[in-house]
Symmetry: C2
Subunit: 378 residues, 2 copies
């Protein structure tokens, strides 16, 4: 590699004019400092959390393709009402891709860096939709021999998020949990963890097909929020599991409040005395996604002992600290081909990731559809 060599890096730009532009930039391949390594990225998933940065608030039904075969460009309009939420990123060309995996092809002079030469490593930290990624050696997660980059591409976001949920449950004194949009890749992973660890999990889905997916992998409690008996079904599952904490990917509408209401009904089934402030059982819903971007509506029919809040992986990892975070990562690596295996429906190059026909599929965020980008694919 000569000093003037460049690699492709995917960029997302929202202009003050209200236009989204997704393109591939030629960026200089950087030279590792002493404690750094250069990784040739070979696999990086398109997670829902990546789409937020990739397409932002743009209306992708207005998307147009231009540019060349090697350097395709996609443009689309951001509705004016949504521009306020984009204020913080206007006219900044932003790299994308939270996590990925690849092979270390060049290292700095430190022992830790040199030890990684030729190894396949998993990475997190953004800018993974790129052919090359500079990393601190200590931030790389070396994968066991026999593990491909594709197998290690999703070591962080979904595995640590699902482990973060059961960890949060334990640390905040709950004994079982509720999960919504539960047939997602993440939801299936959470089921595998809970089955393995013997944790009660109430899965809330929005169709019979999604319920079937979960039953097939051994889920015990699956309730369908579109069923007329939803509130009773949910209450019954809460009584059986004792779940008093929920992780909600939907965010909008009445669901978060319905979960708290059913938790309160479940708690009052064992209450000894009347209190007009409701049960003394603490009930928590964490909203970690926004599949429904409409307002959250709480009827507050659940007493006074409750909380709702936002939940994100990175603040959670900061809270538990690096030592406990490392334990979670070690578990992910140990169970990468079982509990934490991800399945992709398509593997695409950077150029293919910018094809309108592909964007139309992965931007639906449909359960069961998951794309993997291989930036080193020709």
């Amino acid at each position: 590699m000569s000093e003037c060599e460049t690699g492709l890096e995917l960029r997302s730009l929202i202009k003050k004019s209200g236009e989204l532009e997704i393109s591939l930039a030629d960026v200089a391949v950087p030279e590792p400092a002493a404690d750094q390594v250069l990784v040739r990225v070979e696999a990086s998933p398109i997670n829902p959390s990546d789409l937020g940065l990739l397409v932002g608030a743009a209306d992708m039904t207005t998307a147009k393709a231009s540019g060349t075969k090697d350097h395709p460009v996609v443009t689309a309009q951001v509705p004016e009402a949504a521009m306020r939420a984009m204020a913080g990123r206007l006219d900044e060309s932003m790299p994308v891709g939270n996590e990925g995996a690849g092979v270390v092809i060049k290292t700095g002079s430190s022992e830790a860096a040199k030890a990684l030469m030729g190894k396949t490593v998993a990475m997190i930290g953004g800018a993974m939709y790129a052919q090359y990624r500079l990393m601190k050696a200590s931030d790389c997660l070396p994968l066991p021999a026999g593990t491909t980059a594709a197998e290690g591409a999703s070591c962080f976001v979904n595995p640590l998020t699902s482990l973060g949920m059961t960890e949060t449950m334990r640390r905040e004194g709950h004994k079982a949990l509720v999960h919504t949009a539960a047939a997602s890749n993440l939801g299936q992973m959470l089921n595998k963890i809970c089955i393995k660890d013997g944790i009660g999990l109430v899965n809330i889905v929005r169709s019979k097909e999604q319920a079937d997916i979960l039953h097939k992998i051994g889920a015990k409690h699956v309730v369908d929020s579109t069923a007329p008996t939803f509130m009773d079904d949910l209450t019954q599952a809460l009584v059986e599991t004792g779940a008093t904490i929920a992780f909600d990917a939907i965010g909008g509408g009445k669901l978060a409040g319905q979960i708290l209401t059913c938790m309160e009904i479940a708690a009052n089934k064992t209450a000894k005395a009347y209190s007009r402030y409701g049960s003394t059982t603490y009930k928590q819903v964490y909203i970690y996604g926004g599949l429904d971007t409409g307002p959250t509506i709480l009827n507050r029919a659940f007493g006074m002992t409750w909380g709702i809040g936002g939940w994100l992986l990175f603040p959670f990892l900061q809270k538990i600290g690096p030592a406990d975070g490392m334990k979670l990562r070690q578990r992910v690596v140990a169970e990468l081909k079982t509990t934490f295996a991800s399945h992709y429906t398509q593997v695409v190059s950077l150029q293919e990731a910018l094809q309108l026909s592909n964007i139309a599929v992965y931007n639906k965020r449909a359960t069961g559809e998951k794309f993997l980008i291989n930036p080193s694919k020709a």
Copy 2:
């Protein structure tokens, strides 16, 4: 006092038929055990928190008076839709009155009990709308000489709630706070605490008259939620104070979410880098009342670092423990005639408390209207 002597005790009963009945029961005056004292109750306030138990969900426009002059009875209908929330108390005749003060007229044999003989004491624990109240000696708060029962009647609910707010603010790492329905008796007390302790307080009111009340007692930040410039005014006050925690007495509607939105805008004024998950500043709203019983509507335009929850005095006191709780009580007693002075617009007997004309006034929960019951008043 002979063993068959009785005293009056106010009772609230909601029947399965959907009828509320408020009456005065003749109950036997109890004999104190060794560690107990008998208090002749002389003052007990009607707080919003008492009205919830006293009238429950009844529609007081349907109220009817019956009974005798000494034993008046009030009945009213509970709307069928509200009966579900009353399920826990049906057909139970419930005593009312969270707090009060009176004179110890009989004691048990323990030294602690005997030491209280003749003293004026403040009490909390329910059943204070009664002529006599049996208390454990250790649960009585003796008032300094020269303090009347009327002056000591409101030692707990409002003083400890307002102190609980500034305590919660400190313990959860915030440096200033927001309060809604801020011109209330409680809100005025909170202003006095914050002025004395040098704590930034943003008062949210719903009229110019309420703003005037607060300005007169020295409040610095008062914003009117009915003003067209409300969101900007609130944001400006949040920037000036750095408030990131709010205590909301309203509960329903958009206010709690608007507070979080303005906190997020204030936090982002100093943000260094774009994050589509919003600022990393933790923002909290505690709902401690329900002046608006409608649904809480959150537009979630405030990133992912936020929480909303219920807040109540008693769980707070349990959380901080008896030693720290005692420090708060000692401060209340020391500042009973200044910071924690309560003002009453009327003093009524138990019988007068059941007059429909009086109920119509105190059940409005209007700012500036506050009743004190003197059960020993003839």
